[in-house]
Subunit: 651 residues, 2 copies
């Protein structure tokens, strides 16, 4: 089995022409903005009240709870992002703010260890009566994640101790033993958090509790139905179906028996992340098999080309195999963040580049597409086709926005993106025995221990813009080990120069990595040039919504047409057979990331449509048109307009 | 202005190889079945309780009200269908049943004239407190329609007198005078019913009341908001938005100011029908102008090629111009019935065949497509594309069924179809001064008065199957008048033989009619052969959902592909340029109505899809395929399967 662990981000310093700007945005824009938002100081934005809730619970303020039942989790996610920032770069002012928040959280903690401002302030006495809907353990999980990250970053134990006490208390409440609640949370999260707490504390009690929550899920009689009966059949979200629709929360079957990705997409991938964690920690082959089935179902049947998941708004959910409507897509930003969490664990369990490929797909397209280029506005929903003129008219698109929004009333996505980007270093490398794997090509410096020897890797990456990557390998002492470089799924040819010796490869090892084994010494350099032609991508022929259409991809980026470049009525455009793409730079697109121009046509009807909606004259004329594609992640940064990833071809 | 009136159906006897079967189904299957359903004697079907409600209200039974707030209307619509059947053919047993129902209704009537079993039994004292939601005047309207039809059919006044008393009472409750409620119903219906009551009684009070309801609609302050405040902000249908979303009930603007078809499609066309009635009766040019605007918006921007209207499930509503998704369509059967009502009035107001063309489109496609070929099962929703495997999985399709259902819990469509088909004779001819217009080509005998002279027309029609129609014209005395024959919108050439003299026309008069003026004498014969080639129809290029696809049409019928003939994955099929269609007969399709076979192909991807959802190999192979199309109305009579009206072309 696998024993490599995630590398602490303190050992990774990102310095990358594409990604550094995102990290800067997290540090300088998103985290400060979110802090203002958490304190209700963003003008025009819906108040969060999250910090006030803690202040009230800690007895430092008078007032009433305000917000969603899961409002506390925003504080947890923000603290977690802060922790990652502090881990990579000291920032005493930020740390002082964070310490203040931790004082609040600890100050709000009840004698018995319980922390949840909603129940403490608004429904005292109703704790643990509506696990299906009320996100109590979900909020706990986010605070635990924050605590473990903060402890790792600063060495400060205050929050870690607090959440440990909380987890100890939770362990007394839940379990299969007589007198305990045989329950679990409607929204998976604590399961993966408890594994982190186990890592941080070494206390196996938390690992065991995590396994309990996973294994209890989906058992019969159904816990959510039981607690619903017991509390008098009340519902917190009567308009949703959190109690009775068990697929929604993946509680329709025991987790090991689930073979398809059903229900709420974020919950599913958070659950899968914890399942994979358990498989890693306990070498549970059964659990690993379940992880693989769910993974395969997601990525081979239910994932958008942008790495988005969740085909419908109802329940923010998966639908069924090969059902991937580009316009009705939910493809929540958080779900793609969660998919990356899951992928990262699968990569630990099963060394295969396909997991990193999905990580890359979700990261370079949906996750960063979820935020504006200036880091101030966010998409919750990431469709692959938008026609603004029907939005607000056709209510099937009520979840779709043509413009990113500020802080949301359900503000899960922005802090989720922030904590992922702030911890991006964790996803670049992994070490397994005497092999150092490069999973993502993101520039910067990393200090690792490979085959027992300290090694510094300096990656200089122009991967996003032209596929060029350089590794300066600096072992403390000359040492033999393997550098395994991921061959991206989109790449058919890579030129590799190892210490001056050049070779061209068109394929990698069966697991998708190119292995360079040698006795590395200081000054060794590996240069990579991944061929990055524009590719016309097709969807599986069972996806009816993309059938006979193509999407352009270059490197890790999926492209799209926007009205700003191509005019209205994008569905009238067709690519010609001509594959003579020209690459260009465009203002407003990150430096060096290319737009694509290619010849195409606009189909025009030759019929007279002035008096009729349907005509027997079905002939069409082609008008030559230059089509301009921009990377999907950069869409909707130039005002409201049409967008489409998929485009028809002249055939 | 126009002074032609609808011809009583007693003067029309339908005898047609296509339509007689439908009339038989109404008489022998639907009306008896619906009678059983109204009496809760259909096994396995949701109980209606509608007759019981009246029995309880009439003091003949003990019990409680059961059903929807508009349950009474099912009785009204059933009685109306019965009346039309009795008008065209005496049936003492059926008449006795109907008389019994009328006794019940009259027996349930309150001293003051009020009739509504929901409020009398379930919410006495709450009458007229929730017009927005509770369908009180809607139910009254349907009973009034039934009464006028029954009076015309049988000469019996009992129900007519009862509803007149009810209408008199309503007139004391509503109006702009001080002390009256300045309200109107959430669901338009009474407006058109009161015009019928005016016709039946000659009492202008009802015409005036109808006009009041139309003119009050959409005035400010908004009545629905006012009554909502007054009743303490309660909602009867809290999950809907009947009170605050004024477009839903077309109460967002005064009716004369409405220029686009918004909201609930059935309500809109019922309202338009009444508006056209008022324009006819009062020669209100303003009202006529509003009718025309709404008509034009519907048929030139918001109507499916099948004559269906309503692009979304939410609110069973219109969305916006050129937004006509084939798969998400609502296209309620009742809405197309209502569109025919509206079209019939527009034809009276403005002699132009375009109105009859829409009548025909809706009738031959959506309306009869709404029922199974055996008359026992019904569609409420009539999509133009169905992939059964996503139904129940992708909740955007929760309203879509792949099989017709029995009696519905909201059972509006089956009786609506029954009353339309039972009164089909009213839609075939119209007389205006010295011109006899043939609007629909449905065989049978009609006795009319043209230019003051009695004329009998015997129409022998094979219109639906091969476009051949014969008129035997028999004036009582030789008489000069004009026979005006509609040139269907799908027809480019008609061969006309008038008393042995043949001519070929490729166009009609600007109003769409071919006029034959002569001194007609007994034995005169007109033969018509409408050229009926298969046509490839395109949608307006602004309809993105049908862009670059075609639908086949032959004569009045729109065709579709079904899985039963073409296998699964209909979206992979393409029509070739070859226009060599062959027509065939098929078991299960009404006699003589052809299926269409034409050469096409199935696009197959040549990539290896065993391990990937997206591939850079975007080349396709064509596999020759014979495509079989059946008339849309006949779909879903051979089990559950895929269906698509629109198909791509090889280009």
């Amino acid at each position: 089995m696998i024993d490599n662990k995630v590398l602490p981000t303190r050992n990774i310093h990102i310095d990358d022409p594409f990604w550094s700007e995102y990290i800067r945005l997290v540090r300088e824009v998103m985290v400060p903005y979110q802090w203002e938002a958490l304190n209700d100081r963003v003008e025009g934005a819906e108040p969060s009240h999250a910090i006030h809730n803690f202040k009230i619970a800690a007895g430092r303020e008078q007032g009433e709870f305000y917000g969603m039942v899961f409002q506390d989790s925003d504080v947890g996610k923000w603290l977690e992002a802060v922790a990652y920032l502090l881990e990579t770069k000291r920032d005493p002012a930020l740390e002082e703010i964070a310490d203040g928040v931790i004082d609040l959280v600890a100050g709000a903690q009840r004698e018995d260890g319980y922390i949840n401002t909603y129940f403490m302030l608004k429904e005292p006495g109703k704790e643990w009566t509506d696990l299906a809907e009320c996100h109590e353990l979900y909020c706990a999980g986010h605070m635990i994640e924050a605590a473990t990250a903060y402890y790792r970053a600063t060495g400060k134990r205050k929050l870690l101790d607090a959440v440990s006490r909380f987890a100890d208390y939770i362990d007394t409440v839940f379990g299969t033993e007589p007198g305990k609640l045989q329950g679990y949370d409607g929204h998976q999260e604590i399961e993966l958090a408890l594994v982190k707490l186990y890592h941080a504390t070494g206390n196996e009690r938390y690992l065991k509790l995590s396994r309990y929550f996973l294994e209890q899920r989906g058992q019969k009689p159904h816990f959510f139905e039981q607690e619903w009966e017991e509390r008098g059949r009340t519902l917190h979200f009567p308009q949703l179906s959190m109690v009775h629709e068990h697929e929604y929360s993946q509680s329709h079957l025991p987790v090991r028996e689930q073979e398809t990705a059903e229900g709420h997409a974020v919950r599913l991938v958070y659950m899968c992340t914890a399942m994979a964690d358990l498989a890693i920690e306990t070498k549970d082959a059964n659990m690993l098999a379940a992880c693989r089935k769910l993974w395969d179902n997601i990525v081979s049947k239910r994932m958008y080309i942008t790495g988005g998941i969740g085909s419908m708004e109802q329940g923010e959910s998966f639908t069924t195999d090969y059902d991937l409507p580009p316009d009705l897509a939910y493809a929540e930003t958080c779900a793609s963040v969660g998919l990356i969490f899951f992928a990262r664990r699968m990569l630990q369990l099963h060394r295969d580049s396909k997991y990193a490929d999905v990580m890359e797909r979700a990261l370079y397209n949906t996750v960063i597409g979820g935020m504006s280029l200036d880091g101030t506005r966010f998409f919750y929903v990431n469709p692959l086709e938008v026609y603004p003129e029907v939005l607000g008219k056709n209510k099937n698109y009520n979840h779709v926005k043509a413009e990113r929004q500020g802080w949301f009333s359900c503000a899960c996505c922005p802090p989720n993106v922030a904590r992922l980007l702030a911890s991006l270093g964790e996803y670049i490398y992994s070490v397994q025995e005497d092999t150092l794997y490069a999973d993502l090509y993101i520039g910067g410096q990393a200090k690792m221990v490979v085959a027992g020897k300290p090694v510094t890797i300096e990656q200089t990456s122009h991967y996003a813009t032209d596929g060029r990557v350089r590794f300066d390998v600096t072992p403390e002492q000359p040492a033999e080990f393997t550098l395994a470089l991921r061959m991206p799924d989109w790449c058919d040819e890579v030129e590799i120069t190892v210490c001056g010796e050049k070779l061209i490869l068109t394929s990698a090892d069966p697991d998708g990595y190119i292995r360079l084994t040698r006795k590395w010494k200081s000054g060794d350099i590996v240069d990579l040039v991944f061929a990055m032609p524009v590719k016309r991508m097709s969807g599986h022929p069972l996806i009816r919504q993309t059938f006979s259409k193509v999407a352009l991809q270059r490197g890790p980026f999926i492209y799209c047409l926007e009205e700003a470049d191509n005019g209205k009525r994008l569905y009238q455009l067709r690519l010609t057979a001509d594959h003579d793409y020209s690459l260009a730079d465009q203002t407003g697109i990150p430096d060096g990331v290319k737009t694509i121009e290619v010849s195409g046509s606009r189909l025009k009807s030759v019929a007279d449509w002035s008096h009729t909606l349907y005509s027997g004259d079905s002939s069409w004329a082609r008008e030559e048109a230059k089509l301009t594609f921009i990377p999907y992640f950069a869409w909707a940064n130039r005002g409201v307009g049409e967008m489409s990833v998929w485009v028809g071809e002249e055939v």
